[in-house]
């Protein structure tokens, strides 16, 4: 881990050595959301190292999860480092601050995580590619799973901010049953006793929640302790490898939806999981897989075209000619993924809490905004 970081740091410093391609990564490495950014970065670095290419110079910067810092860093990368490609942003609000300006200045942006609906629909752009998902995807999958599981009366909750509102919209788009209740919680809220009491009183047969980061940890621990035993379903964000260990037993058996899982049974994925664990001493999360895939997409395109030839480079990216850790992967017309989303269940393997695929939630799923996208 240290060695790898050192190498990239050296690479970044050695600006005299003429690298052919400059890649700028702005991601969250400090503050509450640091775990996600660190995983994306580590996945990305792993793929770069495995490719053996030494002509890619990567500049990594920490946005501290603050939009104004992210914008400032983007200015620096575009004006001072003169990067060709940018990537790394975790949070949608930061993505909205950085991406529209960056792609308009001719930089190609590969999103390893955030997929705000604006950028998938009317705000789509030829220089913008999303390698993870459109924000609604995993929530839609959760709604679809709820149908197959036979749920007919869901209680749904999310924080009161755009990604939270999108989450509930996404769930409702696929879910066909009735709603026992729908609440927005405070962003950054740590105590969910009041919501859990409402869930208990609502007579729901299932609970859907989207509470990323520490909020999800708090909710799950408190929910497990409350004795309410209505089944829970949610997107993978609250069940990734980094968070599960902090939630502990409270998460066991919970169903969550993800486009990736460590037990997707294909050689690329097995190799990825093994090499990630060997390099960093921990299991990869879905964020790590997204960082890994993003780097591999980039490398596959670089083999066909040079970023200085923007049109050819974009065409090469659109082909998505790389081995994804999730298996089948292709881009839709708005350059967002069309992919299969799985339902997973939280299990314990030895001392470690992790996920196991229990079925497919949505096959070859594209997002709902592609039709609004008018490229050029």
């Amino acid at each position: 881990m240290k060695k790898l970081l050192m190498t990239t740091a050296l690479l970044a410093l050695a600006s005299t050595a003429q690298a052919e391609v400059k890649v700028g990564m702005i991601t969250t490495l400090s503050g509450g959301g640091a775990g996600l950014g660190i995983d994306v970065r580590d996945g990305f670095l792993l793929a770069l190292a495995q490719s053996g290419r030494d002509d890619i110079e990567l500049v990594v910067e920490d946005d501290q999860q603050k939009p104004d810092i992210a914008v400032q860093l983007a200015d620096k990368m575009i004006q001072s480092d003169r990067v060709d490609v940018m990537t790394g942003i975790i949070f949608s609000n930061l993505a909205m601050a950085v991406i529209p300006a960056a792609v308009n200045q001719g930089v190609v942006y590969l999103s390893p995580n955030a997929g705000p609906s604006q950028l998938a629909g009317r705000g789509c752009h030829p220089n913008y590619f999303n390698v993870a998902w459109q924000n609604d995807n995993l929530h839609e999958a959760a709604g679809a799973y709820a149908n197959t599981a036979g749920y007919a009366n869901s209680f749904i909750l999310a924080p009161n901010y755009p990604a939270g509102q999108d989450a509930l919209t996404g769930y409702k788009r696929m879910y066909e049953g009735a709603l026992a209740g729908e609440i927005y919680t405070q962003l950054g809220q740590t105590d969910y006793a009041a919501e859990i009491a409402q869930i208990r009183a609502s007579g729901a047969d299932s609970v859907f929640f989207f509470l990323p980061g520490g909020m999800g940890i708090s909710f799950l621990k408190q929910y497990a302790d409350s004795g309410v035993d209505i089944p829970v379903v949610g997107p993978a964000f609250s069940f990734d490898q980094g968070i599960l260990q902090a939630v502990g037993e409270a998460a066991l058996g919970v169903v969550n939806t993800s486009q990736w899982s460590k037990d997707i049974d294909i050689p690329v994925n097995a190799a990825f999981v093994e090499s990630f664990q060997a390099e960093y001493g921990r299991l990869p999360s879905l964020y790590a897989s997204q960082g890994f895939d993003t780097a591999n997409l980039l490398i596959s395109a670089l083999e066909k075209a040079d970023p200085s030839d923007n049109a050819a480079f974009r065409a090469a990216l659109r082909e998505a000619d790389f081995d994804s850790t999730r298996g089948e992967f292709r881009f839709g017309p708005n350059q967002h993924p069309i992919q299969t989303i799985y339902a997973r269940e939280v299990i314990r393997e030895g001392d470690v809490f992790t996920n196991r695929i229990i079925g497919v939630a949505l096959e070859d799923h594209a997002d709902a905004y592609a039709a609004e996208c008018q490229m050029d």
């Binding site: 490495l29 400090s30 910067e61 920490d62 603050k66 939009p67 104004d68 914008v71 400032q72 200015d75 620096k76 004006q79 001072s80 949608s92 609000n93 909205m96 601050a97 529209p100 300006a101 308009n104 705000p116 009161n160 901010y161 755009p162 990604a163 509102q165 962003l187």
Partner: protein
Amino acid sequence: MIRERHLNILLLAGFLAVPLYALAVDEPFTITLATRAAILALAAVGLNIALGWGGLVSFGHAAFFGIGGYSMGILAFHAQNYMPLDLGFAVLEGTKSMPVIWLVATLTSALAALAIGALSLRTSGVYFIMITLAFAQMFYYFAISWSRYGGEDGISIYVRNEFPGLNTLAPIQFFGLCFAALLLALWLNARLVASPFGLALNAARQVPVRVQTVGLDPTRLKLVAFVISGAITGLAGALFADLNRFVSPSMFSWHLSGELIVLIILGGVGRLMGPVIGAILFVALDHILGGWTTHWHIALGAILLGVVLFARGGVIGLLCGPKGQA
């Protein structure tokens, strides 16, 4: 000891020289950093009028910074989407013109400062600190749930707003605008301090009872200072939004209020150039330390502690001695 006047001139000359040098060697990002420092300095100059001369420790100036930012965001949002802005009593077109945006930003934040100040000045000391924080937090939570303007995601403006006769997209020209605004605010600040109002305000901070016994109302003096202060910080907010071409609720966050206070203490409370030195140092430290280690906050914390423990009166106090000498 350096004379404060000499230091001030030196400082402004240096502040201007850095981006010009950066322009010469084609380092546009350095210009962007200097612009950021100029805007933060402007916001802190505003706060310093309330805090340094009026003795009003406002922990809620992010409210005005954010109002300035959202004034820009909303006007430019409607202009870029060709959507008229319906106020209920009137329908306005949005605008991309900086002078108009600045006027709106200054006026709305002055109005907000009048309302917040009138209520907050009923209290004093720590209570004042906390009630101003409370008002800023209300704006923060309101902005987060104001889905029409992006909520937590904020508003992206694709192209920087326009100023007649200038190309604001050129970093050096936009820096020029921000630097001019800063100079203007500093000049206003200097005139204000030497004016009859400044004399009375200065006394109202030190001995309110005395001010009353000469027939003046210290609360009213402080309220006016608070309004001027809020208006300047609001203008800085509009410029900051234009620098980033983006506004979000984080402009209202208490971290920002805290940072502005820290800037001023770092530079020197109640010193004309205190906020400027503070802002330059803060931006420079952020940039240099941030490039040096991911754990740079520890180093920043240690430096700030050093300033408090060993350099009472901030950097200016260290260089020029306590206020009022020389």
